[in-house]
Symmetry: C2
Subunit: 168 residues, 2 copies
DNA sequence: ATATATTTTCAATAATTTTCGAAAATTCGA
DNA sequence: TCGAATTTTCGAAAATTATTGAAAATATAT
């Protein structure tokens, strides 16, 4: 397979992959393109290589910056803005985990705290099953929260090395 | 907070939560409803409680069955079909992880295997960065795959207990 | 076998999300 | 300060995804 073709495939599957994870296709594709570009790119580079409009490009670059996955680069003597992606994939994963934890897991845990305090007679089967379900989800959620915190702090070598030994 | 209201909130946030994870709202809501229902429900029960159409209900129940999260229950003397959800939340998580691993992670790893074999001169910066990126994603992906396999096999007590000690 | 209850399908419609592209705003050099 | 280059915004259009509801299929009782 030629490089050109391989790059295309990488970009398009990264895009498809993203859509399974609540990330829109363009955002994932821009990210993919930057991941495999040796040098920083401009908006126009991306528009051209991905065949997308200026507005779309701009919006999704900014979103990637919000996620901490892409950053602006100033090239001396250039007027245009350049962008580059974090290439260390372990750092990328940690950033994504951190953001999603903050955006999704933490609010969910807060809600569960509230819901656990539902008023009602514990002899009512419906009350009991509700409280049990809420508290067991909460318990697992808190566990996941802690585990992810550790992962975020860990080094890749630690994860790959120690974790592997640990898991037989 | 009253039970009625708490249940409503649980269902609606579970639905919203699902949409961040590539699961459609109705499917997540049906699942939520079944999780907090003491007894099995019929399609009509769900239609009524969630205000959704028959077709939509039917379709999403079947999808939940495909995922292994819901099953049909035969109640003797009843003509209608009843449905119930797995209530052990650890089992639920494991099922979801297993399915998503199969549907998403494994195909991605297969693709990366192919892309790694791209032809081209290693002295070309673009070839080098592409191959490096693909192989480092692959490495991490394989690690995740193994880690998730272990998790799928593990007991909850093991996860919560040992894992916690391990993570300091 | 027929009537009735129940489930499933699927084409049409609705809702939502994504994308475009032109206009407005901003930046920067001269 | 002016004007060209560049970035950002945002309403409209397109694409995608979810939902409905009625008809068809299936199952069950009599």
């Amino acid at each position: 397979m030629k490089l050109i073709e391989a790059r295309q495939q990488f970009i398009s599957s990264w895009g498809a992959f993203g859509t399974h994870w609540g990330i829109n296709r363009t955002m994932a594709q821009i990210h993919a393109l930057l991941l495999i570009s040796a040098d920083p790119l401009t908006q126009d580079d991306m528009m051209e290589q991905l065949n997308i409009s200026r507005g779309n490009t701009n919006m999704n670059i900014r979103e990637l910056i919000n996620w901490g996955l892409v950053e602006r680069v100033l090239l001396s003597g250039e007027r245009k803005e350049y962008f580059t992606a974090e290439k260390d994939i372990w750092k990328v994963v940690k950033r994504i985990v951190k953001e999603r934890k903050k955006r999704e897991l933490e609010p969910m845990l807060q809600l569960l705290d509230k819901l656990e305090e539902v008023e009602g007679d514990k002899r009512d089967k419906n009350v009991r099953i509700f409280v049990d379900m809420v508290s067991s989800i909460k318990k697992l959620g808190r566990q996941a929260d802690k585990t992810l915190d550790m992962m975020i702090k860990a080094e890749e070598s630690w994860f790959v090395g120690t974790m592997m030994k640990f898991f037989k």
